[in-house]
């Protein structure tokens, strides 16, 4: 391809651009992570009645803070359902039979920050594999970390690909 001129003038331009890109990257990723951390407060006990129906949970997004003790009480609104929390590997089941209660409880300390999918574990009908919801343990550091990292990666590689190694 075309060989573009480079010399002292080009060098200063590169340094200038590099600094601008780096500073904006740091600013953006800082903003992103501050936004993520903003939800910190002292640990409490959180009780959630989680209703399950074919094929959804209500509430479908649960938000707690890191360190909270979470008690989830699973209740079915129609057929038998289950609850499994990815990342924490917790399980509960409500099997609707004679004499069995329509309720199951899991209790745990939300010590790992991040967003975790929970899903049904009892074959409750065709869409059972897609019956999911999200537990958000604030601050969701992996998510904001990922966003910050992608801003930084973007900046570094814009510098590498576009400014230095054209």
């Amino acid at each position: 391809m075309t060989n573009y001129k480079s010399g002292r003038k080009g060098f200063y331009r590169r340094v200038f651009f590099t600094i601008i890109v780096l500073i904006s990257a740091i600013l953006v990723s800082k903003t992103v992570s501050i936004y993520g951390q903003s939800a910190g407060s002292s640990p409490t006990e959180r009780y959630i009645e989680l209703h399950a129906r074919q094929w959804a949970f209500e509430p479908n997004v649960i938000e707690v803070n890191q360190g909270d003790t979470v008690i989830i009480n699973l209740v079915s609104d129609d057929v038998s359902h289950g609850f499994y929390l990815e990342g924490y590997n917790l399980e509960a089941k409500v099997v609707l039979e004679e004499g069995a209660p329509n309720s199951a409880t899991v209790e745990f300390v939300a010590d790992k920050p991040g967003v975790y999918t929970f899903r049904c574990t009892v074959n409750c009908g065709p869409f059972h594999p897609f019956m999911t919801g999200k537990l958000v343990v604030n601050p969701p550091t992996p998510f904001y970390g990922g966003m910050s990292l992608s801003v930084i990666a973007l900046a570094v590689f814009v510098i590498v690909f576009f400014i230095w190694r054209w």
Partner: protein, 490 residues
């Protein structure tokens, strides 16, 4: 800039295998048997989607294998061993292995107007419209397999010449072709000058021991992987031994004009890229997202339980037109209107920054830049595929022991319970893949710009909106897999 290339056909054993007329049959046949077993399993196996071998293998294992391994590493390696065209091609050639000059069928020419992948785009959208049903109802996957492995390919093989099915219609071919362009493997001629001087052109016309390119490709003009099915006929056909199967590092398939500029890039491939990048997000929302209403509309049939046999299962289900229209609307509108519009706006911005006058046309920039979506959406699909595989993969182990619901326990794995794997580190693996995709995409944007503009500053300015678009897409994919999958509410 000499890139690393190594011709695998320099290995004598490999060359000998590939030169054999039985080669294709040998690699396709076992796969064909597998798909016939799957087909049977779809109808007589467990009526429960996540216990049925056909559903599990097609939608978890095959999908994951294509997105994670076969395509990114092997290009169209799947097409080399694909069972879909098998029956049709055997019938058309009237043989499993030999070279027959007289062929069966009408041998029509494919219409010039359809010399693009629009039909493949629509075929993929049709499959996607039914994705909620296909992935949960064995009978639906069964019907799909009957159509894709038996009826449709055979029809096209008997109506038209060569592999019209693969080249223009097959719903998976479109994205395999798109993503094959980044694979570290390529079939090319060794020396194009040799070809240009050689009048025989057996690679295209066919030789005494080989068929002319079934994919309508002309080896001397190959400069992209997109439509080379790696069938190895040209290797057998070329009397001058001028075909190489290279392992390569890097490749410029995404930046060059097809056929050394003899063909122009149309809008069909960019739209394939829009379809794939949009559906990577929509599929993720259906399968693991937190929005119940989207799952409800994706579930376009009304069955709520499972019956013992597949006929009862089909009979108890009725299509719900409202859902079909809503979900179909979402799939077709987002891929064919929304995403292209967003992309057009960013292209407009890019053109504004590069300079309105004396630069590339809007259309050319729109088309060329759309190839940045190839690495971007491929990695989004990889993040999707690895999640589905690790979360639901153990279902396969249980189902494979009793594919026909006869109460067998062939491998002693029947009672393995559903066990999601590595859920703790999974988000980090996905995050890594997504991040890698972003970096890869930035590099791709640079190369596209470099090929399109004559000055550095113009290329740089034009790239800027595209780099921002890549970042926004990355945020969206991260939000699905590492975040709540919803727009954060205050």
């Amino acid at each position: 800039m000499a890139r690393f290339k190594y011709d695998l056909l320099k290995i004598p054993l490999l060359k000998k295998i590939v030169m054999s007329r039985s080669f294709q049959f040998i690699v396709i046949f076992p796969n064909f048997v597998v798909f016939i077993v799957l087909l049977a399993s779809a109808f007589v196996g467990s009526p429960v989607g996540n216990h049925n071998l056909a559903v599990l293998v097609v939608w978890i294992l095959w999908w994951a294998a294509l997105m994670l391994v076969l395509t990114p590493l092997g290009g169209r390696l799947w097409c080399m061993i694909c069972p879909m065209p098998a029956i049709g091609e055997w019938l058309q050639r009237k043989t499993f292995t030999r070279k027959n000059d007289k062929q069966l069928g009408l041998q029509r020419n494919w219409p010039k107007k359809l010399d693009n992948i629009w039909l493949q785009n629509f075929a993929f959208l049709i499959v996607s419209t039914f994705i909620g049903v296909l992935t949960t109802r064995p009978w639906a996957t069964g019907i799909m397999l009957v159509l894709l492995v038996i009826i449709l390919p055979t029809l096209f093989f008997l109506l038209f010449k060569r592999r019209v099915w693969c080249r223009y219609i097959c719903p998976v071919s479109g994205f395999i072709g798109l993503y094959s362009m980044v694979a570290p493997i390529e079939l090319r001629v060794k020396d194009r000058e040799v070809c240009l001087k050689h009048a025989g052109k057996e690679c295209y016309r066919g030789g005494p021991n080989a068929y002319g390119c079934p994919w309508y490709e002309f080896p001397q003009n190959l400069n992209r992987n997109a439509y080379c099915g790696l069938c190895m006929e040209c290797v057998k056909a070329c009397p001058l031994d001028n075909i190489a199967l290279n392992i390569r590092i890097g490749g410029d398939d995404l930046y060059v004009e097809p056929w050394h500029g003899l063909k122009k890039k149309g809008l069909d491939e960019p739209f394939k890229a829009f379809i794939m990048s949009t559906l990577a997000i929509i599929y993720a929302y259906i399968f693991t997202g937190p929005y119940p209403w989207l799952k409800d509309v994706a579930n376009i049939f009304n069955g709520e339980t499972f019956s013992k046999n597949f006929i009862d299962n089909i009979l108890m289900e009725t299509l719900i037109p409202d859902r079909l229209l809503t979900f179909g609307g979402i799939v077709w509108f987002s891929t064919l209107v929304l995403m292209p519009t967003i992309f057009a706006l960013f292209t407009l911005l890019s053109k504004a920054l590069a300079g309105w006058r004396d630069t590339q046309s809007f259309k050319k920039m729109f088309i060329n830049y759309s190839y940045m979506l190839v690495p971007l959406s491929l990695t989004a699909w990889m993040a999707f595929a690895i999640y589905i595989l690790l979360i639901n993969g153990t279902y396969i182990l249980a189902a494979v022991s009793d594919p026909f619901n006869y109460g067998w326990d062939l491998l002693g794995t029947k009672h393995i319970p559903w066990t999601p794997i590595a859920t703790g580190i999974l988000p980090y693996i996905q995050g890594g893949i997504i991040l890698l995709g972003l970096i890869w995409t930035i590099n791709t944007i640079k190369n596209i710009s470099k090929h399109m503009f004559d000055t550095r500053s113009r290329a740089l300015r034009a790239s800027l909106p595209m780099v921002i678009l890549a970042l926004l897409y990355t945020f969206l994919v991260l939000n699905i897999w590492l975040g709540p999958g919803v727009v954060p509410s205050g």
